[in-house]
């Protein structure tokens, strides 16, 4: 006894919750240890007596006026009761006996009659604990409910938290099945307790409490069977909140307005017994006109939809109100302007149609749905003829008809007939367009219905078999073809819009499938119709080729764009379509001589070739019965084969009568190869879209040598596959969903690469211009980089880079100086691991890298090409685990050889032209090694220093130093290049930094210092600011010297210096503060001198223009970075200079000059 009293006192005096909880736990433990003996529980309950007796003594007074002196008592009493509730919370829920629970329920329940100020929160908490006790009986729940309802008006005066506790208690009680049945047993259908509850809670406004209250209401409606009157009362209670909103200031509790809307909506949708009240109420709200905002309208519409969907027995709960709902909703679409409300309205109408159709398991009478659709159709029929409302009316009817298969089968024919009759008397082009839009929407919806036929009631699929098809069959001739014929003859913007709809419709029409009696699907359109549609689309695409530039009035190619998308869709289902397109396009192109084609014709050719590639390769065809009737068996790669084979057959295009040089310049052939490349890219994308990028990467089944396999095929294997002369078992067994398609695509692509390479090395040389070889090498790089390392090794592609798939080494000195491009293409795509054997001592790599060809008398581009091959070889060298392995010796040897060569050249009087070639190749090899931070490069630094110091070759070496760190597409990781993340930092610190001391004028002489400056700037200007951030000071001195010495430095060096200056200005302007005069003077000097030089000479040097632009950029940036006191001394002079610069002959420079002038004008 003493214990409990002490604890109660401690509890009352304690202020923090953890301590209170500890005390409650002690009490609970005490009760548990006594096994809840009568005495212990009695003592425990009596422990709060000191506070209770005071309350009862002054009860009336306290209740009435709550004088100040009593407030301390109230708090203490509330805490004392909290002690009891807390103990119950901590107590084992099985320990109390039923009689004890009855007693406690009685005790706490009495608080709701006597102690509205102090007792409610704790009592409710206690009751909630008692409710979950093992000994709890349903009749106690009824008593709890009745007791709590005694709060009456004082419920409103309770705090939000207290009310929340009470709602929690109510919810537990109302939702408990045993209490629920006890309540129904006691109160019967009148559910009298509900009325008490409603009275108690009717003024609730707190969002969190409302969430609970709505939940309680929904459960009262759904789980109890209240009489009509009580239902009416309940409806009144919750509908008063509709439409509900939430002030933004009170959203901190984590409940949004949407949560409240959803909770309230669930009250409306709780049970169909509410239907007579709900629908009229909501419709009346909707019909208030302009008073209803969009948000409220959406809420109403969504609530109606929720009711329609959740009410059962639609005959009684929905059918009587359909007329009213439709009568109100139709205007929302007919005259509606807000897309959201229109969509929400259509959702309601669709939901009604679905409800009237029945559920997945049980269908309703067909007359219900038919009646509904008829009502809608009847009202909209007239509107279909009225251009103002055609679109809206069509949307309404289409929505209800295509909501489900039954509706579609029942009524679609009537709708199609109605549209057809309107087509006969169109009011305007826009009317025609709208009717077509509706028609296309119906076809689109039909596609979905057929596709999802297995997901609904089994009857649905059966019904589709009985669909009347006469109207559908006639669509092509009656509507699409006739509209096309009428509109295509007179091109105008409006007609083009109509034609675009026709083209879209045609694609949808060909995609339509019908369900046969045996459940199989086949194409709706006959082969003849499909063929006609194809011809029409193909003619649209080919038209450009037949027109002259005068015939084409606009640049609008949107119809052609639609046509190509449509033809692609057609080709997916009706696979002959693409073959026909390829055949016709090829014939049309072959008909013409491309020797002296106009620019317009060449553009038309380019467009057609790209469309050919796009239509065939950008999506994988579907295997549809009837789609490929009478032709070859289906293969997902068939369009790809047709596309590439056709392009290969077109190449080379006839350009008879042209000289060899002119032939090479003609872009026609280049377009064919470009289209081929685009086709590969499109197909890769299509595979990624269909199978997912991960599936393609992870997919590798074997390591066959494809190249060896190709040896057994004829050179025109692809063309034979297209014509059917050859077949391939792997290709013909491919399924649509098998990711193996991608690998076979790569296999075919590799064959194409091999074919092109072999043609290039053996074929008519005039066709293979440098440009085309470059394109072919890009194709090879694309195909090969998509093969995994294993496959590259098994196909021995590293060797093919040098035999060019011809089976023998292609010797140097062959006819085309560009042939090495092909080697580059293969190497570019290879993984380093697949190239390992090239690096054997004395092997190909060493040979190529160490023995530069005699280049000086050859084409100048060859140097570039050889350099890029050498760069790849130097870069993709995979270091072995130990440094002494022979492979790394190879690289050491290569770099050493070039070091010796540079050293020897520096000391000799070598011809500068020859040296330039050697130097370019050497620098590229170094660059490849630098990218992977090959430490052997460090041995070269002294050599480079020496070479730069050489008066003879120093200039060439110093200005080519930037090559070491320049960005190159060959060094992209997607090409499997070995690029260390911080290689530029490494190169800067290991190479460029070594030159700083030498760049100062010293015993080497000013000329050597200038060359070292050039070398540093060449490297630094190719690096990001962060690389040289730590050396800004010494760098600035170099920059200023360069700008000041501009008469003696090359324009490239000036450009590099200015680039670095602009970077420093952007990133660390403060470092310039003390050099401002020199910088401004230098920039002005560059700008003025470069301008006068460029005005004096007729040949424009792009470096001069860049220098001017950069100088002005620097000047423009300065006023934004410094305070006026630093700028004022220069302002006047700059105003003059910049005003003159605004007359620069180059527009881009003028733009920068204006910016600079504007910035300096603000300096006053």
């Amino acid at each position: 006894m003493a214990n409990f009293k002490d604890w109660a006192l401690q509890y009352v005096l304690a202020d923090d919750e953890p301590l209170q909880f500890e005390i409650a736990k002690k009490a609970a433990k005490e009760i548990e240890s006594s096994n809840a003996s009568r005495a212990t529980v009695g003592n425990w309950a009596a422990s709060v007596q000191p506070w209770m007796s005071r309350a009862q003594a002054g009860d009336d007074d306290l209740m009435e006026d709550g004088d100040d002196g009593g407030s301390g008592d109230i708090i203490a009493r509330a805490k004392a009761l909290g002690f009891l509730a807390g103990t119950l919370e901590a107590l084992d829920k099985t320990i109390l006996r039923t009689d004890q629970i009855v007693f406690l329920v009685g005790f706490f329940g009495s608080m709701f009659s006597y102690d509205h100020k102090a007792g409610i929160t704790a009592s409710t908490k206690a009751l909630r604990q008692l409710f979950v006790m093992k000994g709890f009986k349903p009749d106690m729940g009824v008593k709890m409910l009745e007791d709590v309802c005694k709060l009456k008006e004082d419920f409103r005066l309770q705090s939000v938290v207290t009310r929340l506790e009470i709602y929690e208690l109510f919810r537990s009680l109302v939702k408990d099945p045993s209490v629920s049945s006890e309540l129904q047993h006691k109160y019967g259908s009148s559910c009298g307790f509900v009325v008490d509850l409603l009275q108690l809670c009717q003024h609730e406004r707190d969002p969190r409490n409302l969430m609970l209250w709505f939940d309680i209401i929904a459960s009262l409606v759904a789980d109890y069977s209240p009489s009509e009157e009580v239902t009416g009362e309940i409806f009144k209670a919750f509908s008063a909140y509709f439409p509900i909103s939430l002030k933004s200031s009170s959203t901190r509790i984590g409940i949004t307005a949407d949560d409240l809307k959803v909770a309230l909506r669930s009250c409306f949708a709780a049970h169909q017994r509410l239907a007579p009240l709900t629908f009229p109420f909501l419709i009346q709200k909707l019909d208030q006109g302009d008073a209803v905002t969009v948000a409220v309208k959406l809420d109403i519409l969504r609530t109606i939809k929720a009711c329609v969907e959740s009410y059962e027995h639609p005959q009684a709960s929905l059918v009587p109100y359909i007329g009213k709902i439709w009568g109100s909703l139709k205007y929302e679409v007919r005259n509606g302007e807000v897309k959201e409300t229109i969509d929400a309205t259509l959702d309601v109408l669709r939901a009604i149609a679905d409800k009237l159709d029945g559920s997945k398991t049980q269908k309703l009478e067909a007359s219900l749905l038919k009646g509904y659709i008829d009502t809608v159709f009847k009202d909209c029929k007239e509107d279909l003829a009225n251009p103002t409302y055609t679109k809206q009316a069509g949307l309404l009817v289409m929505t209800v008809i295509t909501a489900n298969i039954r509706g579609y089968v029942l009524e679609s024919a009537a709708l199609l007939d109605s549209i057809r009759s309107n087509f006969r008397q169109p009011k305007s082009p826009s009317h025609t367009r709208d009717l077509l839009l509706i028609l296309n929407s119906i076809l689109k919806a039909r596609l979905e219905l057929v596709k999802n036929r297995g997901q609904g009631h089994p009857e649905d699929a059966e019904q589709l078999k009985t669909e009347p098809r006469a109207s559908l069959d006639a669509l092509f001739h009656d509507i699409y073809l006739s509209t096309w014929t009428a509109k295509s003859s007179e091109p105008s913007k409006e007609n083009t819009e109509v034609l675009k709809q026709v083209v879209q419709g045609l694609a949808l029409l060909v995609s339509q499938q019908t369900v046969q009696q045996d459940g199989q699907t086949s194409l709706l359109c006959s082969g003849e119709t499909c063929s006609q549609i194809c011809t029409l689309l193909i003619q649209t695409l080919i038209k450009g080729l037949t027109l002259s530039s005068n015939d084409k009035e606009t640049n609008d190619s949107s119809l052609e764009e639609e046509a190509q998308l449509a033809l692609r869709t057609v080709g997916l289902n009706y696979t002959q379509a693409y073959e026909e397109f390829a055949r016709t396009a090829k014939a049309e192109i072959k008909k013409r001589d491309w020797a002296n084609a106009s620019a317009y014709s060449l553009e038309a050719l380019r467009d057609l070739l790209f469309r050919l590639a796009f239509v065939g390769c950008s999506e994988l065809p579907h295997n549809v019965a009837g789609g490929s009737a009478g032709s070859k068996p289906f293969s997902p790669l068939q369009h790809f084969i047709t596309s590439t084979a056709t392009l290969l057959e077109l190449f080379p295009l006839s350009v008879a009568g042209l000289s060899a040089e002119a032939h090479k310049e003609s872009p026609a052939n280049s377009y064919v190869i470009a289209a081929l490349h685009a086709g590969l890219l499109f197909f890769r994308d299509a595979c990624v879209a269909k199978y997912g990028a991960d599936a393609l990467v992870a997919f590798s089944r074997d390591d066959k040598n494809w190249v060896e396999e190709f040896g057994g095929f004829s050179d025109d294997w692809i063309q034979q596959l297209k014509s059917g002369e050859a077949s391939d078992p792997t290709l013909s067994s491919l399924g649509e969903e098998d990711p193996e398609v991608y690998r076979q695509f790569l296999r075919l692509s590799l064959f194409i690469v091999r074919y092109l390479y072999r043609s290039a090395t053996a074929g008519v040389q005039t066709v293979w211009s440098g440009r085309i070889l470059s394109q072919v090498s890009n194709i090879a790089a694309f195909v090969i980089r998509n093969l995994d390392e294993k496959l590259q090794i098994s196909c021995n592609l590293a060797n093919e880079a040098f035999t060019l798939f011809s089976g023998k080494d292609v010797a140097e000195g062959n006819a085309s100086p560009f042939l090495e491009l092909l080697t580059r293409g293969v190497l570019e795509g290879l993984w380093p691991g697949a190239m390992a054997e090239l690096y054997n001592p004395g092997g190909i790599a060493e040979n190529i890298m160490c023995n530069p060809p005699k280049l000086e008398d050859r084409h100048s581009h060859q140097r570039e090409i050889r350099a890029s091959v050498a760069l790849i070889l130097a870069n993709k060298h995979k270091m072995g685990p130990s440094t002494s392995d022979p492979e790394s010796q190879t690289m050491k040897k290569v770099l050493g050889t070039w070091g010796d060569q540079l050293k020897a050249s520096a000391a000799s009087d070598i011809d500068l032209g020859a040296f330039e070639s050697l130097n370019t190749i050497a620098m590229h090899i170094f660059a490849g090694a630098v990218a992977r931070q090959d430490r052997n490069v460090l041995d070269l630094v002294p050599v480079l220093k020496e070479a730069i110091a050489s008066e003879h070759v120093g200039d060439i070496v110093s200005r080519s130093m930037g090559i070491l760190v320049t960005e190159s597409e060959l060094l992209l990781t997607e090409n499997h290049a070995v690029v260390r993340r911080f290689y530029k930092q490494w190169a800067y610190s290991q190479i460029a930094k070594q030159f700083y001391p030498l760049a100062l004028p010293s015993e080497n002489g000013p000329a050597a210092a200038t060359r070292y400056r050039a070398a540093i700037l060449s490297i630094v200007s190719n690096c990001a600011f962060s690389v040289y951030e730590a050396d800004v000071e010494p760098l600035l001195r170099l920059l200023i010297t360069t700008l000041g010495d501009r008469g003696n430095v090359s324009p490239q060096q000036l450009v590099a210096a200015l680039e670095v200056l602009v970077e420093i200005l952007a990133n660390e302007p403060d470092s310039l503060k003390s050099h401002l005069k020199a910088v401004i003077g230098g920039a002005i000097g560059v700008s003025e001198e470069s301008l006068s030089q460029s005005q004096a000479s007729s040949k424009k040097d792009p470096n001069q223009t860049s220098a001017r632009k950069l100088a002005l950029q620097a000047l423009a940036a300065i006023p934004k970075k410094f305070e006026e006191r630093y700028l004022l001394p220069h302002a006047l002079r700059l105003q003059r200079v910049l005003a003159m610069a605004c007359g620069d002959p180059v527009r881009e420079v003028r733009l920068v000059a204006r910016l600079a002038r504007g910035n300096w004008a603000k300096v006053k």
Binding site: A613, A678, L681, R771, S774, I963, L964, G1143, R1154, A1161
Partner: protein, 196 residues
Amino acid sequence: MQRDNPDNANPTILNVSQLPSRAQKRATARVGSDSKYDSVVLSSPYWRDASSDDGREVREEVTDDALDEQEIYDLISTVSDPEHPHTLGELNVVRLPDIHLTPPRDNPRGLANILVELTPTINHCSLATVIGLALRVRLEQALPPNYRIDIRMKEGSHAQDDQVNKQLADKERVAAALENDTLGGVVENMLKTCAL
């Protein structure tokens, strides 16, 4: 500055896409789904001219374009109207065919003349002089000093075009107007929408 009761409360406004621009004159790039990879497959060969040896790709093609009417139009069409929240180009006050440029002969620093004719939206526009003044300021700020600028009302487009023209041609009056703080503020506001 937008006045509450503008001279022309309801002017015709051109869409930005309708305004003459240099982009329209250039050959348009291909659009459409099949052009997705044009930049990859139709790119020029990678090699550079042998003249550039520092490892950098040759920078973007810089063409030698003398200042022309379109550029003058681009400079002044973006000036805002003092009454409406639109530019003078959108309101068709400034029109490309009404810009006449006589470039310098022989010597690029020789004298060049620019004549801009304005068409107010209504013929009694009270702000014609302010507009003219703003255009003069804009051009003087953006052109080199060897360009002589002449701004006039297009013949017949304004009820008092003679007077307005006289005011705009009078250097002293122009200078005096710019000294006026209020007027200077209006002009400054009008030029806020100009880019480079």
